[in-house]
Symmetry: C2
Subunit: 326 residues, 2 copies
């Protein structure tokens, strides 16, 4: 599949070095974990090799998504959640995905600030990732970065993204449990309906609940969620409240996370979600590989020949597509 | 490829009837043209057969895209352009694509109103199309509807869409020449830069040029366009002005259309654009066919088996994708 000659880009990693890196990552070396995430972020040609080595270690971590508009307190909430999970003996990796940034320049400094109380805790790993990828951004890189953190042995992997455009829906699709964060005074009630976040949340948390309007946001959200029809035995998303800056309400959130985890396993939904995710991942990789095989625009290739035949009227697009798809 | 049993959906057309319909459409029967466009809009299983029959008649029409924000006067401009093209002896088909509408209900009434002065003119065909398609909307149906109108023998096919989101870029991608319509008093200067319309226009037309601010819009636009680097021999998009309601300036627009047409042919850009479009069309059809072959979500299929193997750690997503893509 790969050879050492393809190299690891600017990180200078070879295919032969991958198993060793994975081993050190699994032993808890944060630098090795970071280098593996960088391979994903860089869309390294070593990824097939990396994913092959990681496969046997898949499926241990609980993947928790956290999304919300700018200003609702995502970083503070993440910090508070880490604290509570650590008190319960869980190790935690955080992947902060920035859908708007074409590069993660300065991420290191940002990550250190975000670490907050956890900078010296070996049971916590925090990493930002930019969606720079030319292969399709978030949808392409996030699942693979999550596989790295899962295989590295963390009990909980928190994937955090700002709720802008499609990114929150994409990230929710990658998580076992998705937490949607809101805050009073941001017109979130209306935003909620608009952005379709009513469909993606397993848990809703109204943060900054010491502020005016928090109860109204909760009430509005509950009534909107109440309108959705749910099957018998379906999960009914709770609407919780926190003040992440003081830690108020955070134990309730982690309790709800655990309840949802139990429900996922008992209902069979965990397996269904993971299969759906793997389907999406396989399909994306297969389509990317096919596109590449068919040729790149402006180079003389099979697709160009077929396109010329369609333009001249010698064939039609369906017949050409059949030839291409085999 | 198709058999009569697959049927033509609610239109009740069989594969055997397709060549006859195409023949009548080419003889100028507007009802037959309309039925063929409906096959595209309905994503009929007869499309492969239809495209096969149309192939030999491809490439005659000049495809002109017309886009602009709501309120700039697209319908009035279309009407005025039709009038001028007719005076020059050209037959014209108009495809009005509505990217926001899930269905074209009421399109017939709308189309008759839009026909304006041309309702009795056999050299004019006007049709709305909704982007309802589950297969990918605009990008999937528009090229095929344009093939119908091209093959039906119209000299000019005008594809008109409201400039919202990605739709204008998609429609521009389908045209030989794209006209971007603006109007004063709509903050279009800023909108222009934002929406990336500076990259898609071959002709810019400031409509409602009798209103205050029209000259400023032209100036701003010219200076923004002037900033773009262009290769030697490249087309420099003119910025024209019209008052479509009175017809002022419309002859200049059609003159510029013809100039751009000459440039397209002489520079080889026409062939390049058409090949690029055919590439996109073939690729979209091939990927759709492959997705369908790989299986639909929630049905037991090959992709499900591979996904289950990835979830269990028996394989990884790349190896699974390789198997899928063959």
């Amino acid at each position: 599949m790969t050879d050492t000659a393809t190299g690891g880009g600017r990180r200078g990693i070879t295919a032969a070095a991958v198993p060793g890196l994975v081993e050190r990552a699994r032993e808890g070396d944060p630098r090795s974990v970071g280098r593996l995430v960088s391979l994903v972020e860089d869309e390294s040609p070593l990824l097939p090799e990396l994913m092959r080595v990681l496969a046997p270690y898949a499926g241990h971590a609980r993947i928790v998504g956290l999304t919300g508009s700018p200003g609702v307190g995502k970083s503070t909430s993440t910090n508070a959640l880490i604290g509570e999970l650590r008190r319960r003996g869980q190790s935690v990796a955080v992947l902060a995905v920035d859908p708007s940034s074409p590069f993660s320049g300065g991420a290191l400094l940002g990550d250190r600030i975000r670490m907050g109380d956890h900078v010296l805790d070996p049971g916590v790993f925090i990493r930002s990732m930019a969606a720079r990828g030319h292969l399709g951004g978030l949808a392409w890189t996030t699942p693979q970065a999550l596989r790295v953190l899962d295989a590295a042995g963390f009990d909980v992997v928190l994937v955090e993204t700002v709720g802008v455009g499609q990114s929150e829906v994409e990230v929710a699709g990658q998580a076992d449990t998705t937490i949607v964060l809101l805050a009073p005074g941001m017109g979130d009630g209306i935003q909620a309906a608009k952005a379709g976040i009513l469909e993606i949340g397993d848990l809703y948390v109204v943060n900054k609940s010491d502020r005016e309007g928090a109860d109204k946001v909760r009430r509005d959200l509950r009534s909107m969620l109440g309108l959705a029809e749910r099957r018998e035995g379906a999960w009914r998303p709770p609407v919780l409240k926190t003040t992440a800056s003081t830690g108020d309400g955070v134990t309730d959130v982690v309790d709800a996370l655990e309840e949802h985890g139990d429900w996922l396993r008992e209902s069979g939904e965990l397996q269904r979600r993971r299969i759906r995710r793997a389907r999406g991942e396989i399909e994306t990789l297969a389509l990317t590989a096919l596109r590449r095989r068919w040729g790149s625009v402006d180079s003389g290739d099979r697709l160009d020949e077929l396109a010329a035949a369609v333009v001249s009227g010698a064939t039609d697009a369906y017949t050409a597509a059949d030839e291409l798809a085999g």
